[in-house]
Amino acid sequence: MKQPQGSSTREAWILCLILGIIMLNFPFIQIFNSGKFLLGVPVLVVYFFIGWPLSILVIYLFTCQLERDDQDDEDRGDS
């Protein structure tokens, strides 16, 4: 069971990496590259400074999953 789990996690990581690269590059950011302002702050700046911590949050959630996988492995190893 470990193998499929590990490889699916890896695929999820790579998917996120690719998504991240897409969302931080042309043409995706063109959406926010409008020169408009949100609460006085340019929308593009808001996008980056909200998207960035969100992506860090995604990594955090992933590491929690990794932690759980490891825990499961150890439990399995113990039993």
């Binding site: 931080l24 042309f26 980056f48 990594i59």
Partner: protein, 1091 residues
Amino acid sequence: MISAQVVALASLAYFALLFGVAYYADRRREQGRSLISNSYIYSLSVAVYCTSWTYYGSVGRAATSGLDFLPVYLGPTLIAFTWWFLLRKMVRVSKEQNITSIADFLSSRYDRSALLGAIVTLFAILGIMPYIALQLKAVAHTFDILVYPTAQRGHSLHSLFPALPEMFDTAFIMALILGLFGVLFGARSLDASERHEGLVAAVALESLIKIIAFLAVGLFVTYGLFDGFGDIFRRFHAQFPDRDTLFRLGEGAISYPNWFTLTFISMMAVMFLPRQFHIMVIENADERHIKQSMWRFPAFIFLINLFVIPIALGGLLFTGGDASQADYFVINLPLASGHPWLALLVFIGGFSASAGMVMVSSVTLSTMTLNHLIMPLILKCKFPFGDYSGILLNIKRLGILLVVLLGYFYFRVIGESYALVNIGLISFMAATQFAPAMLGGLYWRRANHKAAIVGLSLGFLLWFYTLLIPSFVLSGWLESDILEKGLFGITLLRPLELFGLSGFDIWTHSLFWSMFFNLAAFLTLSFFTRQSESEALQASRFVDALGESHFISQRQRISRAPTVLEFVELMSKFIGEKQANASIAEYLAQNNQEINHRGSLSDDEIPKLKTFTERTLAGYVGAAPARIILENYLSTRGSRMEDVFDIFGSVTLSRTASREQLSVLYEASQIVASGNELQQSLDDILGLLAQQFKFDLCVIRFLDDQQMTLTVRSQQGMSSEHFGESERNLDMTTYIGSAFLSNKPVLVNDCDYLDKPTSAAIIRREGIKSFAHAPIVIEGQPVGVLSAFSRSSKGIFTDEFVALFNNIAGQVAIAWRNDQQLTGLLESREHERELEIAKTIQMGLLPANVPHVGAIDLAGLCVPAHQVGGDYYDFIGHSDQALDLIVADVSGHNIGSALIMAETRTFIQSQATTLTQPHQMLEALNHFFYNDLTRAELFVTMFYMQYLPENHQLRYASAGHNKPLLWRKSDNSTSWLDAEGLILGIKPQVTFEQVTTSLQPGDILVLYTDGVTEAENAGGEFFGEEQLEKLVRRCTGLSAEEIINAILQQIRTFSGHHHFKDDISLVVLKILEQQEDTAHISTANPQGEPL
């Protein structure tokens, strides 16, 4: 403005703190209670990525060109997604291979190529040196700003120490102190693969200080000077509406390709900058720390960037739009707004950012320089140092100082003319050149060293030409028209529009061309050139690092192998005696190795020890030098690594050996099973051995029981009076003798080492390089020896081969045993045939017909229990006068009995005419046979009867024989005829009683041997006389032959089986009425076949 004393004092105090923390961390490490082994410290130390370039430069960039400071930090956040796979793999490999630096990593992966290590080191120095200069510049400059904003640059320290020589400016002092720090905490020992916990602790503390300082100034500007983010942006928009492009992409200075380029090179740089590699990989204490740092490190760089734009905009608002000093807004804003203490904190933070980078980079570059530039030179020149370890450590320390000072001189020469952020990106682009070789090395088995060397070199050449030179020219440091006219005036070669590619910014242009050449060469050469076996092995160690797969063990041996002690001595030269002894002892203990009488290990273990030695040395001096050291050492001793002769053909050994072994064994067993003559089988097996394994000679010897020598039975290959034909004595002075006597295979993989002089003399004379003897064993006992000799190769006999060789010896044993059994079988068949002949002859001795004597019905039968027997019956007619009936039983059922029986018959037949009375005959027989019977330990019982048809008289004598049964028709009575007489062969002179009786027609006389009455049934009961009597009474109406058949049938029914244990003989005489004159004569199946 703050007084120079305060700034200097604060700096010194901070230095002291760093030294203290580093010292404490090192102490804790020595005590085994690591201070830094947790993911917080690890994440903080990885933040060495954020240098003064981030600290000051990001604000400068944000103020001048806008959002393009961001990709440099977004890239690392993105690549952090891969850390659990990519970074963990790098860490795993590096720990396993004792990697010391990124140059070592690449060199180690690619065939431990010294050239590759040197190239990487050179480029790293070239790429990083400006970066170090940049850090020194930032510290010196901010120091000046803090103390004398308007004073002569770089000499504010002189206000403090007027005696300070003019040439020693702030940056120089700073460089000295940082160098000293690097020496103290980065070069405590030579073991570069060892972690430097003091250094890491200091770097982590610096990261903490720099983020606190930056957040403090950010909060101060955003919420102290202004009223939050919105307020700053609104004011900026109001004051500089034309500068809104700062927050746009694609239209202003930042094109999308540029944006992508910056993201990409940042992703690569955070992984492959030498200092990042050092902190993230070499200094990693536990790969589990990577997990948490995957989000903590991005979070760190997010926080440190949070206030970059507000500070930049605040600075612009503050200066009225003047961006010329934008790089120093961070420190200028607190100063200008009258908060010198905050400015001091900012200075300390900036100093931290610089110091961390300089310390780690100097240690890293120094290690790389020592291991990949200096070591190969030292080894090449073969300086006659007894002990290198001390010298090397000092070279390393000197190297650290030198790197920092080089950075300083770089700063002095061109530093002033350069914008901070550009230098950083130039370094990033240089680090990006490592990416194909690094990633390919980790994930692509075929990537090879030629590809890496050419790819990297091309990449750096392009980097130099399209980025470094244009930067120099553009900043005015280099006067040249190369940008307009191209190299040698060729427009196609214009560095910024190479081969006519125009329309891109300098970064994208450089990235495209450098990566294009780098990748193209790397991929193409990897595809079209082959790896050596050792490189492929090393490649699999890297590619499979996280997998479970087992590496193919290197099948090599060392001729004239060094002893263990010699390995220790070699290591001592480079890493010190104590370390060398400790590591070898640990290795031997871990691997349960025992040193043999030559002070060495077994042939198979020595290459492993060599690998261990090399890897240990690699931890100190790098992979390539370690390899050179070992190779030089072995070659000066005359030792050589030899590929183990690939005994199983071209296929790689361990994985497929079993299949190859099986096929050879299969062929051998086919030969054995073919049932050829033994000689043919032996010749064929040897032929197979010689042909499959290219032996020069194969011999089979068997033990000669009489001579007690091993005698050649078969041989294949070269013939020689010393080898093939000669016998071998059975003693321990020869290898073959000891193989036989100890019943164990004996192999010599290198005939340079022989400890049996008798064998050595012969073997040397014949030019044998290696040989093996395997005993041929049957049921645990050796019967011979199988031998193989090679003149061409040493080290043929691997464990696998010996196993196979033993098996083949086993096949020879089977062939030999089969042959032995066959011979036995043939012999017994021969014997049986002889017995058959004897049987035929013996049966022929029994009477074939009945003599014509009166009116009688006579039949006789003999059924021997075995081929030949001792029973005998006979009829002898004396014309018409008399009929002699004889029944005898010679003890035993063998040839001896048969001979006696034949002799008895001869005697009786010859004497019957002269000895007319039964008792005379028995007496004569006894006398005649006494000696023969005694000698043969045999005896004979006999009943001799004479019937005279004239008067129906019957006279008889008995030599201890079973009493015959007489049935009288007249009164239907039965009686047992008896006469006194001893068994023949007991006494030399015996007198036999002769009894006379008369018979009447119809009377039946039954003579028999003890096989009849003593026939046993399953319960052990005898057939007995009583049963015989009853049977005869029932059969009186039958003919003589029918009576015999009836008796035989009854005995068979009684005993329950077809074969009798004892010979059975029966003679039935029936007196016929006178009118039935013609005698019924039959011989009742004299062959004795079952009826």
